[in-house]
Symmetry: D2
Subunit: 111 residues, 4 copies
């Protein structure tokens, strides 16, 4: 990430086309996902080296929780956005977004 | 809320002080909870009559899912309400409600 | 519970037909389920008195967690029993019980 | 598995040091984990291309479920192994493994 100056370059090519806050969040999301990818690769190394099953399961739970946290962060952002949109564009649009968000929450709770 | 003094009139003294839609929902919620209460009492009967453990577990999963569905229904209503409130009262208030709702979602996902 | 001597009477009619440890567990299970039943009745009171949605959700999460803990306790006992049975009755029988238990665990994890 | 001599060829540095059945499972586990790694990389592409939040969440739920299925498969194997061990080595050892497995199940159910 320190080694990807292109990232900020990409953002700055079209100044103002995205709020800086959003760009920052996007980088944070990608960082989190790269860490989760690392956890899943770590699981492969554990299986390859015949690590004791229970220890593998502990690491699976950690990866699952990391994915859930990522989802909860994304959802929080999305709901905040829905509300701002409701203020700007009116109730009707936003109520449909809420329906959609509720379905996504149900999938998360049940997965 | 600040604009609905009838609310503080509270209770049966002011019949019809709540929209029928809301009342209907409340009855539906109570009905669901009574059914879940029945499921939990059913679990007690299973344990009392020494029902096979795996069959008890199947019924526990059913009760857990019923509680989750109840929570998801409540949450959906709440989010819809947040959005309406955002339109009526402005973004700031509603954003705080979103924070609160996100915390509740996290508790649900992790429980 | 202090007022149900019949409980121990029921056990003592056929002395030795169940290990005391089991009877003790059964009482503990019923106690837990009665507490969960109380939690679900508490939820009904919250809904009846128009408690703020987020506070209701917090109590739903608590009841869900209590049900899960009950299930996990039951499962732990069951697995211990499977293993003892494997020693007494041979591998084949017990492997079938393991299949059954795994299916129950999957239902719990996914509910 | 008895019919896949190639499998033992894979482990050929120390031929026969692991039962072919186990090797087969290990390959299946690694395959699943590689697919999950692909899902997590897919999530990064979705975030990078500013995919709509709800669609990202759907894919997160899919990855979470895949991790859970992997864990459930591992656990099922482990429990079957515990039971075989109980028959071979006695109840005491196996009961400790059950305690350990129950703790792992609790982490899964609560994650």
């Amino acid at each position: 990430m320190a080694t990807t100056p292109a990232d900020s370059g990409a953002g700055s090519a079209t100044p103002g086309h995205k709020p800086p806050g959003y760009l920052h969040q996007k980088d944070a999301h990608l960082k989190r996902l790269r860490r989760i990818e690392g956890q899943v690769r770590g699981l492969q190394r554990l299986v390859e080296s015949d690590t004791y099953c229970i220890d593998v399961l502990t690491q699976v739970s950690a990866a699952t929780r990391a994915l859930e946290s990522f989802a909860l962060g994304l959802l929080d952002e999305h709901l905040a956005h829905c509300v701002s949109e409701a203020v700007a564009n009116g109730d009707q649009d936003a109520q449909e977004k809420v329906k959609e968000a509720s379905a996504a929450i149900a999938r998360l709770v049940r997965s």
